[in-house]
Symmetry: C2
Subunit: 491 residues, 2 copies
């Protein structure tokens, strides 16, 4: 399984691509830039969806569905939004094909040209605010707290499985509020939902903060983000939540009658995470032996491999294993008992190791005699022979422990790869030698930010929310600065 | 709420449209033919999804995701499929917009024309079989049992909310098998899953059967369908399952090495249901007072409305209601306790009635004194004052009873509107006067089928699976026939 699989040190980029494909997570499709998410990868995404969906509902949101197509003119209505989103996109111009006159295949029917082109949604603010206009008359209609699970398309020139694909899956929340305060509160609440999910489910430590104006969502007043550090020292933006002010309400003329009986524009937020999270998950924990999954997101949490020479031995082992399997499943743990005789135990060990199954139990005739079982954990690759007594509790405990260990390991990696830097030379040197997060002073201007990006490809990832004030000098311009920000090269 | 709401007898079509909009299920969007599914409608769809998804997994299927775009040339590969699906569809021709030279808005960038046009999927057999080609080498790779939840687009000229929309949501199963028998078995299994869901969850009786060759899915050897009868006497196809033979395997060159070490083409099925089910659900049970929902699919199963004049009364009522609410929720029942003081009880009664909430409890100060509660059921509109003792069990029982009653009512409607007809005149007369299902002899030819359709707009809905053989004469041609088939006008 893992042969021809490069190590991270050898070729990180190749390691990632091969891992995604060989662990059966996803593959490239016949359509440039679009991926096929395979059942094992999709099962992880379904767990992500289920957990987030519950969190959204627990915070008062409902799901709904808006059209995949957006009339071209909608994008022109919000000046910044059009610059950010209406350029590299899939454009539907016709609604019919016909048989080719030469009898070979089918061609576009030029008589079926749309009066106005339709854009396959790159994000849905415009079509949603055009809809909200009809839903909102007075403060009694507010807030509107809606989320949508959907596919979106952005025509990317360079794509990578999960990290940047032309079509991807995501959720996008779109809320409408009577006051600025309430909208800001909503944007921050959802940032916290994302951070909680990243840390406590994906086992990925994240920095919560705001984006610099240049890195904001097109049309936002403030963009909040959670930022994670990958094992190659590059940053990955794992989720964003935007306070949109009244920009979209003004663009789509959405006013409400407030409690004082006056008309005012509605306040908005939007927030989203995507299948990109799969890339973050893979790169945060996996190793040179393949995928490593946190137990809370693993489609198979425990794999049980019987070692047997004949039917009789298998029957004996199954008699021991099945009650354990049932007891674990009763506690909400997903177990795969792989009693196939078409594959050897060694093949199965490699398979579950490569696919990141957190715990593997192996049980053979000698274990049955001695009342033992071999327990292998994927995170440390350690094996241990345990008494089978009370094994359910031991496994539940071990899964919790693995979840925590993965988080601690990622946190420790991030701490060891976050550097406080005070000179421009050191900045460039750290970036090139080590990568990681660089905490440095910035003069707050877009010019400086742009120059740093041009010269080093590093960007301001985030201005941490709990950032302490500290007088200093901009790493690049030397001008005064009152706080450090987080720089990194990023996915 | 229900004012300006026409009765079914007055204007059935208007009744349906108004119901969908006024019950907050869906509405038309700014994009022609595409709908917005509103939170209340989407909550019903989510329940449908959750139940079906579990059934798919229980029968061994996994979810995956394939691209929304399909290269135009893929459609030409299967001769029948191209006729059926590659004509009225959304065609992506460009991948970039640019600022208009006149400075007004944005225009398509003609330099960014795709080499090959992409079709927004109307169904995914082609892209999926192009993918399966790389997944299948030997019988060990079979069966592949995959389902996809997705949006699809078919460019419809005349659209109606849920029933026929340009974009709709659905699931599409696509399976690959080593033998013909196994594929046929799969297609039948999924037909049974759909029938079970329709009858036991949606409370809609359906006829299981096969389609006539003319009504088959484009590319199928056999199309199985479940067919339901709506209250206006028109039929609605509620789900289809196709045995595709080796057609797509041949079109995409998907061969496998069988147990005898010989190459053979793979056998296929596909099966799907869509948001059209929402239309079937609405039209099967609803009445002139609005939506009626079977308890198993209702987003709110029990609404509790307190009748109070002041805070003190409300507090007293809440002290009684909240334990009941908690007890019901502990039994998996969704309860809304509507203690808002911004709306009067009468408004709330109308609201829950119109939105089809199966059971409404009303409780006021006198009920508190007397230990009673008023229970209103939506299906019969009956009200009853019950002792509050043991109310949870009474409600659980009532919900079961309502579920069963809706099914029985729909079944009885279908039985009263299924007619055995033996002459052409009677056929036309029944169609025009009563509608409904017509059980009649057909000579088995496509010509006769086509002529009947031309003259009456009736089509063969289904040839029932358990159809008894019966010698007779074709209703239209008078030629011999050995079984009756079900005709109807249909959605």
């Amino acid at each position: 399984m893992a042969k021809d699989f490069p190590s991270r040190a050898e070729n990180y980029s190749q390691w990632y691509n091969d891992l995604v494909i060989k662990a059966d997570l996803a593959e490239n499709s016949a359509v440039r830039g679009c991926m096929v998410i395979k059942p094992y990868g999709y099962a992880i995404w379904e767990r992500i969806q289920a957990i987030l969906d519950k969190k959204f509902k627990d915070t008062g949101h409902s799901n709904a569905y808006f059209p995949i197509f957006i009339p071209k003119s909608f994008f022109s209505k919000e000046a910044n939004h059009v610059e950010g989103f209406a350029k590299e996109c899939a454009v539907v111009t016709h609604y019919r094909l016909k048989n080719s006159p030469d009898g070979k295949g089918i061609v576009v029917d030029e008589d079926a040209r749309l009066e106005e082109e339709l854009i396959v949604r790159p994000t849905s603010e415009t079509i949603i605010w055009a809809t909200y206009r009809n839903w909102i008359k007075s403060y009694r209609d507010l807030p509107i707290l809606i989320n949508q699970w959907a596919n979106v398309v952005r025509w990317e020139m360079r794509t990578r499985l999960f990290l940047r694909t032309t079509e991807f899956l995501w959720q996008e929340g779109h809320t409408a509020h009577a006051t600025r305060e309430e909208a800001v509160q909503e944007a921050e609440t959802m940032l916290n939902v994302y951070a909680d999910f990243a840390e406590n489910w994906m086992a990925i430590p994240v920095i919560k903060g705001t984006k610099s104006p240049a890195e904001r969502f097109a049309g936002a007043i403030e963009t909040y983000a959670i930022e994670a550090l990958m094992q190659d020292g590059k940053a990955l933006q794992a989720g964003t939540s935007h306070f949109l002010g009244q920009n979209f309400a003004k663009a789509f003329d959405v006013k409400y009658l407030n409690r004082e009986n006056q008309l005012d524009y509605v306040w908005a937020t939007s927030w989203g995470v995507s299948t990109r999270l799969m890339g973050a998950l893979i790169m945060s924990h996996s190793d040179d032996h393949g995928l490593v999954l946190p137990p809370k997101l693993a489609p198979i949490q425990v794999a049980i491999v019987p070692v047997f020479k004949n039917e009789e031995q298998l029957a004996q082992i199954s008699a021991t294993v099945l009650p354990i399997k049932n007891a674990l499943e009763a506690r909400g743990i997903t177990v795969k008992y792989d009693d196939r005789d078409t594959h050897k135990p060694g093949w199965k060990f490699s398979e579950y190791e490569f696919k990141g199954v957190p715990v593997r139990l192996t049980i053979g005739p000698r274990d049955i005699e001695q009342g033992t079982v071999e327990v292998a954990r994927r995170d440390t690759l350690e094996k241990e022979v345990l008494q089978i007594t009370d094994i359910e509790n031991k496994i539940v405990h071990l899964l919790d422990h693995i979840q925590k260990n993965l988080y601690d390991r990622a946190l420790s990696f991030r701490e060891n790869n976050t550097f406080r830097v005070d000179t421009w030379d050191e900045f460039k040197q750290v970036l090139d030698d080590k990568g990681g997060f660089i905490s440095a002073h910035w003069d707050g201007t877009a010019e400086t930010e742009e120059k740093i990006k041009e010269e080093t490809k590093a960007t301001i990832r985030v201005i941490p929310l709990d950032n302490p004030l500290e007088a200093g000098k901009c790493i690049y311009s030397g001008k005064p600065s009152d706080q450090r920000v987080i720089f990194a090269r990023a996915y």
